[in-house]
Amino acid sequence: MATTTSSTGRTTIRMRSQGVASRIAFGALLLRDLTVLKKNLGIFIARTLIQPFLLVFVFLFVFPKIGQGIGGGSGLAGESAFAAVLVSGVVGLSIMFQGIQAVALPLANEFGYTKEIEDRVLAPLPVSLVAIGKVLAGAIQGLIAAAIVFPIAYAIHARGVEVHLSVHWVLLITLIPLTSIMTSSLGLVLGTRISPRNIGLMFGFIVLPLTFLGGTYYPWETLSAIKVGGFPWLQALVCINPLIYVTEGFRAALTPAAHMPLYVIYPVLVGFCVLFLWLGVRGFYRRVLS
């Protein structure tokens, strides 16, 4: 706040226009979140790496070595095809994990008994911008996660297994931010709807199903083989899972393999973004105001 001290010693206060104050406060909130990220950088990187590392290590290194192929039984060629499927899945999955964790977990603390979010809610900007700032900080962590994970997923595999990638840069540089914002918005929804006490359950009941039914380990198209009475029920069911559009998107961006059409992927991802942001901001309002 701008202040001037008059000769009488009394401080007079000058008000900033709301737009200016909001812009400054929004930047400062981001700065605060990035400072906290920087403090916990080691944990952040470890958290980002552990899951993709294990996935890639087991599926692309251990499995081929022990002859437990999962590439459709066609030997090294099959393994290589699976590697391409998995790499795009792992990149999508990592962004989603970061997005959700970066927003939902801190919020659970900040909404907790002490309500430490209050000081930021009382910063001179609309409450919705405080929530959006959380999403943006989470999205930035998603971006960093993508940058860290991609080289690993690409590099680790057993000899003879080749990861054939063909990168479509336009898709990649649009999908990564879009996915980051979508997943951190989902984190806002989860963080504001789930009580701090139950936040641990979020992983078991929400994140895990999203992961396993999100096309991380298989392309969406192949699910058409699973049918009841001629209806590909699993393929239809996973369409409610936002992760499927992410992994299919990265499949389109990174591999020459078949994928869900882009004219489906982009609008649906944008739709999920809008939906989650709306739900998340509403949930945030409900948690901080009464």
């Binding site: 709301q18 406060a25 605060r32 430490e116 910063a123």
Partner: protein, 328 residues
């Protein structure tokens, strides 16, 4: 310097820092009327207190004035800004110290101040200077690098006050500032508030400690069930009791009958009230009160088990208004 006389009848609308018109909050769950058509003005430079028991509506009132609780009726203007219409603008003008320790646990003591300054538009250099200055001013400089969970309750409260003042708010809100503090920390905080008052800082605080309200506040509103029961300076509130001596009597037997007996027969008694296990008797004059009470009670066949005598306090005022004790 500060020359305004708070509570003076010459207060004008121009001096009003807070104004509530029929401010009301009804919580949807349970249909509780937490604050019921509150009318209130707080003037520049005064320490104004909301005194009342838990559940009186004090915290909800502060919540509405600080934009965190949305009123269901009426209007509130803080520093000239409507809190419902322009909450983001109001937030520029207020400093808030919450009841619980809501310091940012991801940051150090110093960083809590620094980032708060940044939120309120200070640049890097200004925020740094302000954080340094306020740490010294609030005797926290030695713990600048400490995690906020590692400092004592009294220090945490001082840090919260420092943070709330960092951006020079028009009015400082404190919700139960000394609840849970040890006596020493409480006195230290009172000294800080006294000093702020001397510097001209407008303060609104809530408390359920009558000593605190009496010692600190220029004017007080006594609240219960979401309504203001009385509003005046502590002195005038105490004078409103219209007695010089308050006698508290414990005795065996029918206390209601004893209460009536004492009021009828003790010379100078103006009022008597049966509380849970005691009787409170208001008496004009101070000399020879106790013997008179003992004589009347014993003639009536009562055994007095305890007897004490005091000047009227805000507690007396509260009991007068509500028929119950403040801390029960």
């Amino acid at each position: 310097m500060f020359t305004h006389n708070p509570g003076n009848d010459s207060n004008t609308a121009a001096d009003e820092v807070i104004r509530c018109d029929k401010l009301t909050k009804r919580y949807a769950d349970g249909d509780i009327l937490a604050v019921d058509q509150l009318d209130l003005s707080v003037y520049h430079g005064e320490i104004f207190g909301l005194l009342g028991p838990n559940g009186a509506g004090k915290t909800t009132t502060v919540g509405m004035l600080t934009t965190l609780v949305i009123p269901t009726g009426g209007k509130a203007i803080v520093a000239g800004v409507d809190v419902v219409a322009q909450p983001a603008l109001v937030k520029q003008m207020i400093g808030v110290v919450a009841q619980t320790n809501n310091l940012d646990r991801a940051l150090t003591v110093w960083e809590n101040l620094y980032y708060h300054g940044r939120f309120f538009g200070m640049n890097r250099k200004e925020a740094r200077a302000a954080a340094d200055e306020y740490l010294v001013r609030f005797r926290l400089a030695e713990r600048a690098k400490a995690e906020v969970m590692a400092i004592s309750g009294g220090m945490a409260k001082r840090l919260m006050v420092a943070r709330a003042l960092l951006h020079h708010p028009s009015v400082l809100f404190l919700d139960e500032p000394t609840a849970g503090l040890d006596p020493q920390a409480r006195i230290a905080l009172w000294e800080i508030l006294d000093k702020l008052h001397a510097e001209g800082q407008t303060i609104l605080l809530t408390t359920h400690y009558m000593e605190e309200a009496d010692a600190l506040c220029n004017r007080l509103a006594i609240m219960d069930h979401g309504r203001i029961l009385a509003l005046d300076t502590p002195k005038k509130l105490k004078e409103s009791v219209a007695a010089d001596t308050i006698v508290t009597v414990s005795a065996t037997g029918d206390l209601d009958a004893l209460a009536r007996l004492l009021q009828e027969q003790v010379e100078g008694a103006t009022r008597s009230q049966r509380l849970d296990t005691t009787i409170q008797l208001h008496v004009k004059g101070t000399t020879g009160v106790l013997p008179r009470v003992v004589t009347v009670a014993e003639q009536g066949g009562y055994n007095i088990t305890d007897l004490s005598i005091a000047e009227p306090t805000l507690e007396t005022v509260f009991i007068n208004l509500t028929g119950k004790e403040l801390r029960d």
